[in-house]
């Protein structure tokens, strides 16, 4: 949500003369944006790792539960992705 919808902005405008109230609202927006960003990260990881870890084919379509191997693969997939992310940041910073 890059911009605040008009309906919400109109509401915020009614308290615009109260600096502390506006600060409170800005703080709320910041917290919610952070939560949203983390959820978007999880969505992107899920898409990537589901594709790589979950094997659905004609002989294996009925189980709704994750197998132990699938759970482990998903968890490892996120961990390794973050490792690579860190390593790339370090490399770009000239550490290696």
């Amino acid at each position: 949500m890059s911009s605040i919808p008009n309906q919400i902005q109109t509401k915020i405008n009614t308290i615009s003369s109260n600096g502390e109230a506006v600060a409170q609202v800005n703080n709320i927006i910041q917290v919610e944006e952070q939560k949203f960003q983390i959820q978007q990260d999880i969505h992107n990881f899920t898409k990537l790792c589901f594709n790589n870890c979950i094997n659905i084919n004609s002989t294996n379509i009925l189980s709704a539960d994750l197998t132990t191997n699938e759970s482990q693969c998903l968890s490892d997939c996120v961990s390794r992705y973050l490792d690579v992310n860190l390593q790339i940041v370090k490399s770009l910073q000239g550490g290696k």
Binding site: M1, I4, P5, Q7, I8, K11, I12, T14, I15, N18, E20, A21, Q24, V25, I28, I29, V31, E32, E33, K35, F36, I38, Q39, Q40, D41, I42, H43, F45, T46, K47, C49, F50, N51, C53, I54, I56, I61, L62, S63, A64, D65, L66, E70, S71, L74, S75, C77, V78, S79, L82, N85, L86, V89
Partner: protein
């Protein structure tokens, strides 16, 4: 992070504004209303992303070209696959959420 929160089904805002005497009751009500609306807005966006991603994954994993309904790929069989694929997708979301949030708590994000 439970999936229930994903759809904004929780009845109360997760960060209620503490009772602060510096705001009159009308202002507090406005702040709470704005907070609820903002949370709803984000929840809708989050749900849209989930639907988009799950559709893409389950479409790819469950259906094969040609996509004729009355051919050998019967709709009933496809639906069964889509159902279990979605169930697996939601469980995967939870699994990854656990791992990611656990890791975030160990070390703050680098960016």
């Amino acid at each position: 992070m439970a999936l229930g929160g994903l759809f904004g089904s929780s009845s109360a805002p997760s960060n209620p504004v503490p009772q602060q005497p510096k705001f009159d009751s009308e202002t507090v009500a406005t702040i709470l209303e704005v907070q609820t609306k903002i949370q709803e807005e984000f929840a809708i966006n989050t749900a849209k992303t989930l639907v988009d991603h799950a559709t893409e994954q389950c479409f790819t994993k469950c259906l094969k070209a040609p996509y004729a309904v009355n051919g050998s790929t019967s709709l009933a069989q496809d639906n069964n696959c889509v159902e279990s694929c979605l169930a697996k997708y939601l469980r995967s979301w939870n699994e990854i959420s656990k791992t990611y949030v656990g890791r975030l708590q160990q070390q703050p994000p680098s960016n």
